[in-house]
Amino acid sequence: MASNDPVLQVKDLATYYYLGDKELKAVDGVSFDISARRTLGLAGESGCGKTTTAYSIMRILAENGKIARGSINLGGVELTELSDEEMRQLRWKKASIVFQYAMNAFNPVLRIGKQIVEVIQEKDDFSQDEAVQIVNDLFDEVGLKPERQTDYPHEFSGGMLQRAIIAQALACDPQLIIADEPVTALDVIVQNKILDLLRKLQDKYNLAVLFITHDLSVVAENCHDVGIMYAGNLVEWGTAEDVFKRSVHPYSYKLIGAFPSVVGPKKRLEFIPGSPPNLLSIPKGCRFHPRCPFAQARCETDVPEYTEVTDGHFAKCHFAGELDLGGGA
């Protein structure tokens, strides 16, 4: 592949849920892009809008959720303008999603291989034998014995199911894989095996990966780029090294600082006082200002712009780049 154009471009995405007559702004003005062979780790606390962002891209939102504005461009196709049927055609073929609970992703009464064959035959014009052969190859690729295609989901361990899901996600040769907390339910050793597998497949198939997780340690080790979300906003976006070592948004800086580590000196960690806002009554100005140790008068009234602080490193803070966040280069 020659082009360096991003596979996925999200611009000013806003997704709202409607609860009675109330509007819940779960995602509000999120912009980022992902190129082939890159992994963007989208992280933040529960309710920050990371999963809603993923579901908006796949257009699998709950019935009361609507994309209110913005654009989602996947390989040159504007997803927000597609009909439901066109979108259905495109899922699995252009973009697939891997969910957290592998045990719930397969139908428990059908053989695993058959469920993947079904996807292949639905999307591409392959005969039964050809489809079975593809699943054989895929199983081999993800480290499962091809003969286990005839097993039922309960005969697989958690790690094996996650591998099968990845095989299914790859079945129709997509450009983008969205992994929503793909390893959260697994033990660390199995977790790393799955992450290594994802990385290997990404290189082989030139995949763009959107990796959603609440665990910044996993992001640090597995993602090229990082986006930190807070209360529906993407507050910082840049390379992993920029965001972790040269944070420019106080929230990212504080959140990273709250993670304990098994290396380095053992020190008392700081936490962020308070909790994220209720999205039905979002604070005026910067959404983080009530919890921000650097907040000034202006933060209470003006919404900060999402600006490029240094090359490819964006933040949504009035004082991005001006604060002394201690981390340093």
């Binding site: 790393n192 340690s217 304990p260 290396v263 960690l269 936490f271």
Partner: protein, 327 residues
């Protein structure tokens, strides 16, 4: 040893019988050996972390020690009294001194009760309340202990009005009000977001000093274990693989399993590259374990030095024990 152990666990076993088919008598009764001969001591004021992967027996061990489930063998002494031989009355007494905090505060706290009832419940059960005023004051002071202030305001709320972090603090207040000496916390922060998780772990560390508590902290996350504990026990398939002072075990693990586990813990810093030790396969169920070392099938260092019987814990450095034939 500086002080008397507050808890002595000796060869504790918890075997669950496996129910199998009609002809199971042929092979004899089989067991899931969830906890299989575990021994350790805890000194007063210590904070020990028990870590391991799902199914290693860490939670079963905690529940067995508290006699929330019936032990299959061994003994556990709380200050020289064998918990496994206590009668109902003695157990009631014991549970004032040994409290447990569970992972999911949403399941523990009854949504139909206000905070004041939830926190005071233990006092009522143990018939310790003197009068409504005294009870009220004790609840308020317990809420202040866990930094839920203004306490009067929190006291009248219901659980749905509180966040996960606040609920977990209420679960802690429920224990504290009984003035326990030992608290077993089973993954107390695993359900919480990072910042709140750190807040609760800091609170627990502070309370330990303020109230002279001893902790058993059960977790699957070694980074968490290191943050709250000063002594670490690593379990694998129902047995202790390695135990010792926290930094000794984390910085220089001796057992091949601990080495692999530590090397796989993600580090929140993208500039640190570490070599990971990968183990083949996944942790099996502890039924029909292989003879000898139970880690053998996955061990990267298995070799001629490994004897056919099960390795016992050997002291390799001061207070640092390893169950491995390798030396």
């Amino acid at each position: 040893m500086a002080s008397e152990p507050i808890l002595r666990v000796e060869e504790v076993r918890k075997w669950f019988p496996v129910r199998s088919g009609l002809f199971s008598f042929r092979g004899g009764q089989k067991y899931v050996k969830a906890v299989d001969n575990v021994s350790f001591n805890i000194e007063k004021g210590a904070s020990i972390a028990i870590a391991g992967e799902s199914g290693c027996g860490k939670t079963t061990l905690a529940r067995t020690i508290l006699r929330l489930i019936k032990p299959s063998g061994g003994a556990a002494y709380f200050k020289d009294e064998n918990i496994f031989e206590m009668n109902r009355l003695e157990l009631n007494e014991l549970r004032l001194k040994m409290q447990i905090i569970f992972q999911n505060p949403f399941e523990v706290l009854d949504p139909r009760h206000t905070v004041i009832d939830l926190v005071g419940e233990g006092l009522n059960i143990h018939k310790l309340e003197e009068s409504d005023e005294v009870l009220h004051d004790k609840v308020i002071s317990a809420l202040e202990d866990v930094r839920l202030v203004p306490a009067e305001d929190f006291a009248t709320r219901y659980t749905h009005e509180l966040s996960g972090g606040q609920l977990q603090r209420i679960a802690i207040a429920r224990s504290l009000i009984l003035k326990p000496e030992l608290i077993i916390a089973d993954e107390p922060v695993s359900m919480l977001d990072a910042s709140i998780r750190t807040e609760v772990m800091n609170l627990m560390t502070d309370l330990q000093k303020e109230k002279d508590l001893t902790y058993i902290f059960i977790t699957h996350d070694l980074a968490q274990a290191r943050y709250v504990g000063d002594y670490l026990i690593i379990m694998y398939l129902g047995r202790i693989a390695e135990m010792g002072p926290m930094e000794d075990v984390i910085q220089s693990p001796q057992h091949p399993y601990t080495k692999a586990l530590v090397s796989n813990i993600p580090i929140p810093d993208p500039t640190i590259e570490r070599e990971r030790i990968m183990l083949p396969g996944e942790t099996p169920t502890p039924i029909d374990l292989p003879p000898g070392c139970r880690f053998k099938p996955r061990c990267q260092e298995f070799g001629a030095q490994c004897k056919p019987d099960e390795p016992q814990l050997q002291e390799v450095a001061d207070g640092h024990f390893v169950a491995c034939w390798f030396d």
